[in-house]
């Protein structure tokens, strides 16, 4: 009799999903929040939601493989005596020695140098290997000031004052004890094996008025030679850009929530900050309102993966982009060849993000000498070079198709949006229309 009664189909909750429930159980078992590396994994409006329009009757294209499309960019033209000239508008973002292994940092330097672009230090200071393998090196000036010293400051080609990063705007970091080798401990003036807190705000200034004086000090120490960038995590891009300009920045680096981190709370990564796509137009607007667009360069980071992403960011007004996670993948992070070992760590290729634990099978986010030795910095550097070249070629392909002889000539008019959200954030028309939300001041 019961067999004849239709059963209710089990329905999974859209609110209490299996991953959510698993996290509740994990939290209940451990009493601690989840810490991980990387950036936001949730789906947010992104460059995939934009398309290029390409040439048509009203525009004519440039010939691929024949007509030149330049890619160079100069950063730091506002005040620095020696701005940075890059062959391509794709830079390597700040990642620390400590979070990354020595061979990984060397590979980033090698790859960036071969591609004609810059790489960036991170928390913990500058290593001689990194300086030696990087033709253009940006020195991060961070709240922790770990390893910070004036000699290294003067060796840098640019200084990046880090106010925040997209993965955790308003948050600091924690390099867990298992990644603190003797060398890392010495560079940071802390005992080996303890968790090393990276402060969330600078110890000797608060607010934009102080920042202006801090930048003055840095310029005086470096004799006004090198550009000074200000990096912020994207939250209030219009005002943060305006205040960075007011404080005297040569370059503003705006990092969206897809930007990665070595380690922070998952709740922070997924719930604080705004998508990269949403921060470009307000930042550009601030520069335009102040009359310094192109004089103060804008570097966009957070989820840049392809030449199309590069071209779209630049079409929206950026002068260059910066990559971190993508560069790590290029040199071997989350490579399927380590799948068996990812499985042993309870993860899988493409999802491995426990970078803070120092057990990275790829030898990138670790200080374990045996694991680190798995990464050949020469070969990895070559892969990064290849990847950067491909991204550049892709961006050039698109620019030519839109009729531009320089990536900087890409413009918002070259774009349309696939979704209302992307149209609103990027302020480009919904595909097939001449309208985007908010156009003309309406809703």
């Amino acid at each position: 009799m019961d067999d004849q009664i239709p059963r209710t189909v089990p329905i999974q909750s859209a609110t209490f999903t299996n991953p959510i429930n698993a996290e509740i159980r994990r939290a209940a078992a451990t009493g601690i929040y989840d810490i991980r590396g990387g950036g936001a994994k949730r789906k947010v409006p992104h460059f995939d939601d934009l398309l290029f329009l390409g040439a048509s009757v009203s525009r004519y294209p440039l010939e691929g493989y024949r007509e030149r499309c330049d890619t160079s960019v100069t950063l730091g033209t506002r005040f620095a005596k020696n701005p940075i000239h890059l062959d391509i508008p794709i830079t390597i973002a700040g990642m620390s020695f400590g979070a990354l292994s020595g061979p990984a940092k060397e590979a980033l330097g090698r790859g960036a140098s071969m591609a004609g672009t810059s790489t960036t230090t991170g928390d913990g200071g500058m290593t001689p290997e990194e300086r030696g393998h990087s033709s253009k090196l940006v020195y991060q000036y961070l709240p922790s000031r770990y390893g910070m010293n004036p000699n290294d400051l003067r060796k840098a080609d640019a200084i990046e004052v880090v106010v925040g990063q997209g993965a955790k705007p308003g948050g600091g970091g924690m390099l867990l004890g298992q990644k603190i080798s003797d060398r890392v401990a010495e560079m940071r003036t802390l005992p080996k094996g303890i968790d090393q807190r990276s402060a969330c705000r600078h110890p000797d200034w608060t607010g934009p008025d102080d920042l202006e004086i801090k930048i003055l000090e840095l310029r005086e120490i470096t004799n006004w030679q090198v550009p000074i960038y200000v990096k912020v995590g994207a939250t209030r891009p219009y005002y943060d850009t305006a205040l960075a300009v007011k404080a005297g920045a040569d370059v503003v680096v705006m990092d969206g929530m897809q930007g990665g981190t070595a380690a922070t709370q998952d709740v922070f990564i997924e719930h604080v900050g705004i998508p990269t796509l949403a921060c470009i137009r307000p930042a550009v607007q601030a520069l335009q309102d102040l009359g310094v667009h192109r004089e103060v360069q804008l570097v966009i980071s957070g989820g840049i993966r392809t030449g199309a992403d590069v071209a779209k960011a630049m079409a929206l007004g950026a002068d260059a982009v910066s990559i971190g996670t993508a560069a790590m993948i290029a040199i071997g992070d989350n490579d399927p060849k380590w799948e068996a070992e990812y499985q042993k760590l309870g993860s899988t290729t493409g999802a491995y993000d426990d970078w803070h634990e120092g057990q990275d099978p790829a030898g990138i986010t670790t200080q374990d000498p045996k694991l680190a030795a798995r990464l050949d910095p020469v070969d990895a550097g070559r892969r990064l070079r290849n990847y950067l070249k491909v991204m550049t070629l892709e961006a050039q392909t698109i620019a030519r198709a839109c009729g531009h002889n320089h990536l900087h000539n890409l413009e918002p008019e070259d774009l349309c949006a696939l979704t209302m959200e992307a149209a609103a954030m990027a302020k480009v028309p919904l595909a097939g229309t001449d309208w985007y939300p908010g156009k003309g001041g309406g809703y």
Binding site: L153, P203, W205
Partner: protein, 227 residues
Amino acid sequence: MQTYDLEANGLSGLNSTLQSQNTETNQTSWEVVNPKGSHAIAVGLDAPIEVTVKGSTGYYCAGMNQQATIRVEGSVGPGVAENMMSGEVIVDGDASQYAGATGHGGLLVIKGNASSRCGISMKGIDIVVHGNIGHMSAFMAQAGNLVVCGDAGDALGDSLYEARLFVRGTVQSLGADCVEKEMRPEHLEVLKDLLDRAGCDAKPEEFRRYGSARQLYNFDVDNTAAY
């Protein structure tokens, strides 16, 4: 004695001139007149020269100093001797916030009082304050010695690492993971040397020593109430 008129000749001229001195310079003694509260005076020096600033300064005076001895005949704004590596900085008056912040080495002497966050994130610098210090001093201090001949404000040594704190007067309150520790002979020896070098006639035995309890060195969920 070389004299530099800051008002007449500008800040960058001063700093580039002082930074260009090296260990073999004959111009070892400098006087800066008319500072008038300017920021970033005598920053980034790296030679064993003596610089006397005839008046009060703004932010970051003597920032990132190496080797030089810099005396300020007045008071200083925030961040005096920030990230100092070596050398000596003496302030005849008072110091604003963040004095000696993140300093890696050298000696900072403040003859008057220091405001809040004195010695924040210090990484090996020695700081001697003849007077009192404000709240949150030695926050996240990693290494070096902070000597306070007067009183200390709230939350002294909050989240302290391995820096040693010596206070002669009262401490309003201790920060998270900062505790009073036994003053052993080796500490008295260090303290005596610092007091002598700072021109302070206080007796080492009059001080109490504070340091890290080292309970917050590795994250433990049972410690979250401490933050």
